[in-house]
């Protein structure tokens, strides 16, 4: 079992650009959640996808959007990047319970 995988591992973007991060859930999991972890902070909930729809959303602007595909994989899109969007982006998958986290994508905005 590969567990939760995320790509890419690292990414460098310029302010104003757009970025797409990808997540493949653990086998058998149907729910994907995304978290942002700024340096020195705990992860913050962005949103959760279930059955290809956004089910819950945290306190993040509309620049943050997502998508879930029929195979349960998911993408996180961030538009109009700001310096403050630099963080580790974590994906977690679950099936009616415990969330399993991937290793994250480190996004640096310059």
């Amino acid at each position: 079992d590969a567990g939760v995988t995320q790509s890419p591992t690292h990414l460098i973007k310029t302010r104003g650009q757009q970025v797409t991060l990808r997540c493949s859930p653990k086998s058998g999991h149907d729910t994907v959640s995304w978290y942002q972890q700024a340096l020195g902070q705990g992860p913050q909930f962005i949103f959760q996808y279930y059955e290809e729809e956004e089910r819950q959303r945290g306190n993040f602007p509309d620049r943050f959007s997502g998508h879930q595909f029929p195979n349960y994989s998911s993408e996180l899109n961030v538009n109009a990047l700001l310096l403050g969007d630099s963080a580790l982006y974590l994906c977690a998958s679950s099936l009616l319970g415990e969330q399993y986290f991937g290793p994250g994508t480190r996004l640096t905005v310059t």
């Binding site: 939760v4 909930f45 959760q48 089910r55 415990e98 969330q99 290793p103």
Partner: protein
């Protein structure tokens, strides 16, 4: 609203001595509480969870935590630290009103273990 406060940003112990990482929570309803560990360049790993069953919860790698409603605390302990325990630890709360899916993390406690 729900939140957790981790009372120490850093804790330093010697190998073989006890570990205590402190966490207080705030929740409008009956919470579920978790401790996660994050090693450098690795994903978050669940250590243990409390979901309204036994108040003393045993987790992996010898860790345990006790839910104390009267003190709104959920402190993490281990009798004897090992060098491999050095990592960042997060106390996490969630509750039924969010379907137990929105995890709210504390700011983390970095555990340092010296030989």
């Amino acid at each position: 609203a729900q939140s957790v406060t981790q009372l120490d940003s850093h804790v330093s112990v010697s190998e073989g001595t006890p570990v205590l990482l402190r966490c207080n929570y705030s929740s409008s309803y009956s919470p579920s509480l978790f401790w996660y560990v994050q090693h450098p360049n690795k994903g978050l790993q669940l250590l243990l969870k409390y979901t309204s069953a036994a108040t003393l919860v045993k987790g992996i790698n010898g860790f345990e935590a006790e839910f104390k409603k009267s003190e709104t605390s959920f402190h993490l302990t281990k009798p004897s630290a090992h060098m491999s325990d050095a990592a960042e630890y997060f106390c996490v709360v969630t509750q039924r009103e969010t379907g137990f899916q929105k995890l709210v993390f504390g700011t983390g406690t970095r555990l340092l273990v010296s030989p």
